[in-house]
C-alpha cells in the first residue's frame, strides 16, 4: 500500500453513510457517479476541493447507519487516501477493508489533527504524522487476518487465492 501525504478534511462524531452518499443517488452502482455527490449534505465544497491523496478525519462511530458500500466507494473514488477516526461503525469498517479504502483508528490523532493540516501516513508502521503541527501518533494495528485481506487488495482478490 502506498503511503499518503495530503490535506485534511475534518468532520465530527457519528458521520453517517447518508451524508457520505445520500440515498437519492443510490440508483447507480457507478463509483464515479457516486463520487460527485460525496459528503454534499454536510460539506458542499468537499468534492470541488478534494485532491488525490487527501486525508479524511472523523470522530467516534465514523460511517454509522446504512450498509451501503457506496459510501467508502465514493470516498475512495474522490481521491481520499486514508480515513482516520476515533472509531468506525462496524459495517463501514468491513466495507472499507473489503474494497481497499485505507482506514486507521487513532483517538489522539483524530482529536488533534486540524482541518487543512498536511498529514503523512506510513502504512507499514501505522505512523500518522501531522506535518503542520509537527506531531506523530501510532495507529491501532490491524489483526493479521485483516492485514492479509488488505495486502491482497481486498476481499474478492484474497478469495481468488
Amino acid at each position: 500500500m502506498e503511503n499518503v501525504r495530503g490535506r485534511v478534511f475534518k468532520y465530527p462524531d457519528n458521520v453517517d453513510t447518508d451524508v457520505i452518499i445520500p440515498a437519492r443517488y443510490l440508483n447507480t452502482p457507478d463509483a464515479k457517479e457516486l463520487a460527485v455527490h460525496c459528503m454534499e449534505d454536510i460539506d458542499r465544497n468537499f468534492v470541488s476541493q478534494v485532491c488525490a491523496g487527501d486525508v479524511m478525519v472523523g470522530g467516534w462511530n465514523f460511517g454509522c447507519g446504512s450498509s451501503r458500500e457506496h459510501a467508502p466507494l465514493a470516498i475512495k473514488t474522490c481521491g481520499i487516501g486514508v480515513v482516520i477516526a476515533k472509531s468506525f461503525a462496524r459495517i463501514f469498517y468491513r466495507n472499507a477493508i473489503n474494497i481497499g479504502l485505507p482506514i486507521l483508528e487513532s483517538e489522539e490523532a483524530a482529536e488533534k489533527i486540524q482541518p487543512g493540516d498536511i498529514v503523512y501516513v506510513d502504512f507499514q508502521t501505522g505512523l500518522i504524522t501531522d506535518e503542520t503541527l509537527g506531531c506523530s501518533w501510532q495507529a491501532e494495528p490491524f489483526p493479521e487476518f485483516i492485514q492479509n485481506i488488505i495486502d491482497k487488495g481486498g476481499l474478492m482478490a484474497s478469495l481468488k487465492e
Partner: protein, 419 residues
C-alpha cells in the same frame, strides 16, 4: 468456556467447540441477502472475481424493495440487473414486484430465516432476525458477493451486552419505544461491535412483531446483532412457516457480558427520537409544541401487521389533521392483503391517509414522501440523520405506530394515550 447465545451460534457455524470474544472465525452461512441497491454492486464484484455460480440457489435471497415499483430509469436498470442475475443463477428466493415485501419483514414471514441460523445481508437492518433466535448481521456488497460465492463469511466474535427485561409494557407502548429508550440510554455507538442479548421474564410479554422491531434497530446502537431467546412464542411463529429445521441455542448461565442493563418495561412511556440521531430521545408527551407536515407509518422497523393494527386503532373513524400528509406502507403483500381483509385500508383512506404497496422509499429519502426545506415528519422508520428523508433542513422524528398515528390526528407530536 461459557458462551453467550451469539457466541454459541457462531461457534457451531465455524465447526468449533468454543469461541472467545475477539476471535476471528470463518462461518458457514444459512442465508445471504441483498436488495435492489446493494445487489448490483455485489453482482459486479461477483462477476469481476470470475465466479460462475452461487454456493446454494436456495440460500441466496434477493428482494427488490428499496426503489420499487421503480422510481426512475436508473433504479429500473438496477432491478433488471438483479432480475437477470437471479434468472441466470436460478436463485430460488427472488422477490419481484407483486411478491416482494420489505426484506426484513418478508424473510421471517416466508420462513426463509429460522432459529439457530447464521445469516448475512447487504442491508444494515439484517440484524432483525435475531428476534427468531438467529445470528444475523448487516454487511456490505462485497461481503454479500463473497457469501454468494462461497457460502461463508468471516466474523470477529463479539462481546455481549445483556439486556434484562422485566415487567410488561403498558397499553400504547410498544417494542419501538423499548428500542428507542435503550438507544437513548446507551447511545448510537453504545453497543459498537457487540451483540445485544435480550433476556429476562419481560421477554415473554413481547410479541414477535415487538421483538422483530427491537432487533431491527440494534444497529442504531452500533451493535453487530440483537438476539432474543427462543420461547414458546417463537416456536409457534416458526411452526408451519420455517422452511428449514431450526435449532435452539441458549446462553450459558455463567456466560460473560461486558455490561448488563436492566429495563423495566412497565415504566416505559411513548418515546420519540428527535433529529438528527436516534439517541436523541424524548417522551412523546413533551412534544406538543413540535408541529409536523407529514407522517410515515411503515418500513422494516414498523410495517408489520401489529403496526398496522396500532395505526387502525388510533385512526379508525377519525380524520387526520388538515394539511398533513399521512403515508401508510404495509411491509409485505401478505400484510397488505390482511389489512384489506380486516378493513384497515378502508379506514386509513377514510381518515385521509394514502396507502402504498410495500417499499422502503421514504425511510431513506428515496421516493414516496420526500420532505421539502424545513419540513418535519413523524416516522416509524429507523433513522433521523441529516437529509435522511429529503432536504438537508428537513427533520425526522422517530416514533412508534401508536405515536405516529396519534400525531397524524393532531398535527404535532402526540402521546397516543391522549387521543
Amino acid at each position: 468456556m461459557a458462551m453467550t447465545m451469539t457466541q454459541k451460534i457462531l461457534a457451531a457455524h465455524a465447526h468449533l467447540a468454543e469461541v472467545k470474544p475477539g476471535q476471528l472465525i470463518l462461518a458457514d452461512l444459512d442465508g445471504v441477502l441483498g436488495n435492489d441497491i446493494t445487489t448490483p454492486v455485489a453482482i459486479k464484484e461477483f462477476e469481476k472475481a470470475g465466479f460462475d455460480h452461487v454456493f446454494d440457489r436456495e440460500k441466496v435471497n434477493i428482494v427488490l424493495d428499496h426503489f420499487v415499483p421503480n422510481k426512475d430509469i436508473k433504479a429500473a436498470q438496477q432491478s433488471k440487473a438483479c432480475r437477470d442475475f437471479c434468472h441466470k443463477h436460478s436463485v430460488k428466493n427472488f422477490f419481484d414486484v407483486g411478491q416482494m415485501g420489505i426484506e426484513h419483514a418478508l424473510l421471517p414471514e416466508q420462513g426463509l430465516v429460522t432459529a439457530g441460523d447464521c445469516v448475512i445481508g447487504a442491508d444494515s437492518h439484517t440484524c432483525t432476525y435475531g428476534a427468531l433466535g438467529a445470528f444475523s448481521t448487516g454487511v456490505g456488497s462485497t461481503d454479500m458477493a463473497a457469501g454468494m460465492a462461497t457460502g461463508k463469511a468471516w466474523f470477529k466474535v463479539p462481546e455481549a451486552i445483556k439486556v434484562v427485561l422485566k415487567g410488561k409494557l403498558s397499553p400504547y407502548v410498544s417494542g419501538k419505544d423499548v428500542i428507542l429508550h435503550l438507544i437513548g440510554e446507551i447511545g448510537v455507538d453504545g453497543a459498537l461491535y457487540r451483540s445485544l442479548e435480550f433476556t429476562g421474564e419481560g421477554v415473554q410479554s413481547l410479541s414477535m412483531d415487538d421483538r422483530l422491531c427491537i432487533c431491527n434497530m440494534a444497529i442504531e446502537a452500533g451493535a453487530k446483532n440483537g438476539i432474543f431467546p427462543v420461547d414458546s412464542l417463537t416456536l409457534s411463529y416458526l411452526e408451519g412457516r420455517s422452511q428449514r429445521p431450526w435449532k435452539i441455542y441458549e446462553a450459558d448461565e455463567d456466560a460473560s457480558y461486558i455490561q448488563t442493563i436492566t429495563l423495566d418495561l412497565s415504566l416505559l412511556e411513548p418515546t420519540v427520537s428527535y433529529p438528527h440521531l436516534p439517541e436523541n430521545t424524548h417522551l412523546a408527551k413533551e412534544g406538543e409544541s413540535i408541529f409536523i407536515d407529514q407522517v410515515v407509518i411503515g418500513s422494516c422497523t414498523n410495517g408489520r401487521l401489529e403496526d398496522m393494527q396500532a395505526a387502525f386503532e388510533i385512526l379508525k373513524g377519525k380524520k387526520v389533521k388538515d394539511g398533513l400528509r399521512v403515508i401508510i406502507i404495509p411491509a409485505t403483500m401478505q400484510i397488505y392483503k390482511e389489512c384489506l381483509v380486516r378493513g384497515y385500508i378502508e379506514a386509513f383512506i377514510d381518515a385521509g391517509c394514502v396507502v402504498s404497496t410495500p417499499t422502503c422509499g421514504p425511510c431513506l429519502g428515496g421516493y414516496m414522501g420526500i420532505l421539502a426545506e424545513n419540513e418535519r415528519c413523524v416516522s416509524t422508520t429507523n433513522r433521523n440523520f441529516v437529509g435522511r428523508m429529503g432536504h438537508t433542513s428537513s427533520e425526522v422524528y422517530l416514533a412508534s405506530p401508536y405515536t405516529a398515528a396519534a400525531s397524524a390526528l393532531t398535527g404535532h407530536i402526540t402521546d397516543p394515550r391522549k387521543v
